[in-house]
């Protein structure tokens, strides 16, 4: 409970500081000309972190001719190191498609994506496979884990795929499982764990090879509120203490609230962006978007 409160107050503090900017940006005014509300109490701002992920004019068209569907229509985003960015939108907005592009699961019809400055939108299947193996970690909504493997083995999987072996890796696996609070579940099969625990194992697995980017597709979509909170806390913690970059697709305002920024998509395009931190604000913005 205590750590949770800490995080909440921290988030609130940050959110309050940026509240003004957020409202202004939604209405289209340039925030840089405004004076921050709590200038005296402002924390010294560190130099902006480097851009880890950059996507320009992403377009994805499915089908041909009259039956063509434009799932994404010229969307661009930018994510810096250590940020948690949430992508929200109504169904059909293209948020899942965007995630698939970013995660090197599919190639865009046009546009560019780069990770750490290197483009990967035009790579062939082997190239994409390598990106997924070495540089990106994925967490899905459900069915993440192989049912026949224990928690430890599931986390070990990416290393085995990459051909790494040995005790060093095993040690790291145990550390990660401890990190996500599952030291006691190492030998358990997925069927023996709750939904929240399974998601935490997935997060541990996503982190095993120290990826530049972690992508999460509705990570709390299948969980009750308590498990959701556990998972979201974990993500927040990873972002702060380890500078882990996270991009999350979600329809849950509570989940989006832990993000540093929330990007809204509508009809395949970016429709707006607010600072994260407050559940209510995100809800309001989301509703406003749909109107």
């Amino acid at each position: 409970m205590a750590p949770l409160l800490d995080d909440l107050t921290g988030a609130l503090r940050q959110g309050l500081g940026r509240a003004g900017e957020a409202l202004v940006s939604l209405s289209g005014t340039d925030p840089e000309t405004e004076v921050p509300l709590e200038a005296e109490a402002a924390v010294p701002v560190a130099p902006p972190a480097p851009v880890v992920l950059e996507a320009r004019d992403l377009t994805k068209v499915y089908g041909e001719g009259g039956a063509a569907v434009r799932a994404l229509d010229g969307a661009s985003i930018e994510v810096r190191r250590g940020e948690i960015v949430a992508i929200m939108g109504p169904s059909g907005s293209g948020k899942s498609t965007m995630l698939h592009m970013l995660g090197a699961l599919e190639t865009p019809t046009s546009g560019q994506i780069s990770l750490g400055g290197e483009r990967y939108d035009g790579l062939d299947d082997s190239g994409l496979t390598r990106v997924r193996r070495d540089r990106i970690g994925f967490v899905f909504q459900f069915f993440n884990l192989l049912p026949s493997l224990s928690a430890e083995e599931n986390v070990l999987l990416p290393a085995l795929i990459a051909g790494e072996r040995g005790d060093a890796i095993r040690g790291r696996v145990r550390d990660l499982l401890g990190r996500v609070g599952l030291a006691g579940r190492v030998e358990h099969l997925p069927a023996e764990m709750s939904g929240g625990e399974q998601q935490r194992v997935s997060i541990a697995r996503a982190l095993l090879r120290d990826p530049e980017l972690v992508l999460a597709d509705e990570p709390t979509g299948n969980l009750d509120s308590r498990s959701s909170a556990e998972v979201l806390d974990l993500l927040r913690e990873l972002s702060e203490s380890e500078q882990q970059t996270v991009v999350m697709v979600t329809h849950d305002p509570g989940a989006a609230a832990i993000a540093d920024r929330v990007i809204f998509l509508r009809d395949g395009q970016v429709a707006g962006e607010i600072e994260g931190g407050s559940r209510e604000r995100v809800s309001e913005a989301f509703t406003a978007l749909r109107a």
């Binding site: 085995l160 072996r165 597709d217």
Partner: protein, 855 residues
Amino acid sequence: MRSFSSLALRQVRARRARALLTAAGIVLGVGMILGVLLLSATINRTFSDLYDSVYGKADLIVSGSGEDSLPKSALERVQLTPGVEEAIGRVIGIFSLVERHRGKPPDPGNELNVAGQSPDAADVTDSETVAGRDPRRGREIALQESWADANEIGLGDRISLATPDGERKFDVVGLFQFSSGFEFGGEGFAVMPLASARGLLDKPRSFDEVDVIIAGGDRTIATVERRLEKRFGKGVQVETPDRKSQDIESQLQAFNAILYFFAAMALFVGGFLIFNAFNMTVLQRTREIGMLRTLGTSRRRITGSVLREAGLLGIAGATVGLGLGLGLAYALAELVRALDFPVGRLVITWWAPAVAVVTGLLTAVLGALYPARRAGRTSPVRAVLGTDGLRSQIRPRRALIGIILILVGLAGAFWLGAADETTPLVAAAGMAGTIAIFFGIAMIAPFVVRPLVRVLSWPVRVVFPVEGRLAAEAARSDPGRTASTATALLIGLALVIAVNSLGSSFLKTISDEFDQAFARDLTVQPSGLAPGQGPQQTIAGSLRDRLAKIDQAEVVARERFLFTPDLPGRKGKTESDGLLIAFDPSEYEQVDTTDIQGPPRDQVFRRMERGGVTVGEGHADEENIEVGDTLRLEGPSGQRRAPVVGIVETALFGGQTVGMSLETLRKVWGVTADTELALKAKSEAARPVLERKVRRIVRQDYPNLAVLSNDELKADVESQVNQQFGVFYAIVGVAIFASLFGIVNTLTMSVLERTREIGVLRALGATRWQIRRQVASESIVIGLIGALLGIVVGTGLGYALLQGLAAGIPGVQYRPPLATMAMVAVAGVLLGLIAAILPARRAARLDVIDAISYE
């Protein structure tokens, strides 16, 4: 888990029961292959051991070809040939043991192969006297010890043996044993003095063979061989014992080839099961595979992982199959022995298990090849999408390929039927053709599943309207899966129909010919008469004379058969085996009315009396022989040119026959003993009296002979044919059994897919029994589809094979095996019911709440 490769092992261990079901086909197929390999090795070894034991010390054997004889003078001529150290002349016959309790006919599997030779002659067999001494005079005889023991005969006993000359008593003065410990099934060996043997076998002036011992090495043997060949001319064979056993082995090739074929089919079904099971598994694991792809697993590694899984199953299945195969080999050997085909102890070679395992492994991997590649093609997006929108497209192009394959396959089957000899190439072509047909059907099947389901589910829907309808939906929803499950079943059923249609067509033809051509009333022949399967017993002339004296007998016609591996043709010996049939034309005319092409019948028979011959239609077609041509007859007793006076329309022996007068057979081949007697009564009223008298005489004095009415004769031939087919049905039965596992697998998957649906049905009030009936209905529909397609394919295959065979045997017509078809249809229903038992129980036991919330 140590490396990515071991993921395959984990997957297998996680679903052990499913893996077992999948591998069941491999287990059975490998078992069958091993069983057949061991059986054929045993048969081959039996015959080579036979020659090693019985002719162990002989370097050359001089004989007629087949079962015919050399003139008495041959012995001296051999002895005088330079290089010959010793020459031993023998006459050979078959006696049967007469049971102590009278009335029981002798067991043909218990026969005694008797060699009569001069007591002073050297011993060419590789044997040792174990007790007593050599027989020197009169009715003394020496027996193989193991046979004597098996029949509870001891040294010094007086035993009754049925000989061609009637029942006689013999004194057992000696027992011997082959140094190799050779066993010839239940048959035994005996030696007796030459003079008595001549009398009993009615061979006063001939030798069946002259065995030669040569002082010197291989080169000397070869030289002497050539010398003897030159000295004796065309009708006589001079061979080393090795060559002789090789000759027999090559005759067994055809039987071997057929056995391999059926065993290969059983394994093929196993491969099909793997294909089906892995297709389903890959589909079921779509999300998992997609997830692995998101983790960065390459396509090749996914494919490799699936193939590795298949390989593990293949090895596991093959290993279990080895144990099964050993048992099957014993069973097959017993089965073959029960068909009076003597085989020795089971031979276990080292290479047979290796071949069986490798074949099983290959089959498993090949079966999983297509599903493995499909798995590799899984897009990583599937981790999220699962199987949404993933419907297997059924491309029309596949139907086209399927039809082409079927046509090619039928052509191959036709070629197999039409071939004169079953060489390995022909057998391979036939096998490839049959497999092509099954592949073709597998490709076409998905297209016909939907209409078939609608039609075949009708009976089920009549009895159980709701369950039937749901079951039909289930079967229709994945036509590919339904089709490949039904295909596994139809392979076995189609083979049953094809083989059966061959049998029934032949039987019908022979039966028709019997009805049409037989003008006789009664037949007397040795029990277990089977020309072509080694030396046959004969009938003494004295019996014929006795029967001819019966008042009621109009005629007692003598028939002499001689199986020969090289029927005479226009230029001498041909390569075909066939039957020489000799009779007295004036006698035979009265008991036989087979159609003869050419001049009118009585002219044909008159000309035969003067040395002319008739030729069976099959042989005539093959060798382009017509009436008026001349055949060159070459035998151990002499040579002749004979004009062809008629072509006989017969299916007997496949039409591979040459008919001649008794005198011609004697002059050329030296045969003087009757093989069969055909009797005709003076009148309709006299017939039963004649039969009674003949049966009495034969039963009293000639216990090794059988008296058969026309119906009994037909039944005898039928049972012989059916018995031979029995071995093939046994093997095919294994294939059908294997396909059961495929159905169980499919049903289990189907239940799993429909878990939520079943939950909803139960929530709406469906009872457990209704659920069971639904699963059972789906299974019955699959079974019926398999049966129907099996009947169609089997009929086509049988027809193609028969047309090919009929090219050489005119008059054979295709007769659809209707009774078998009905049985196959019933079998489809029954197999469906049996396969459904376990899956239906599982479906019925699903907890309603769990089922509804199943993702």
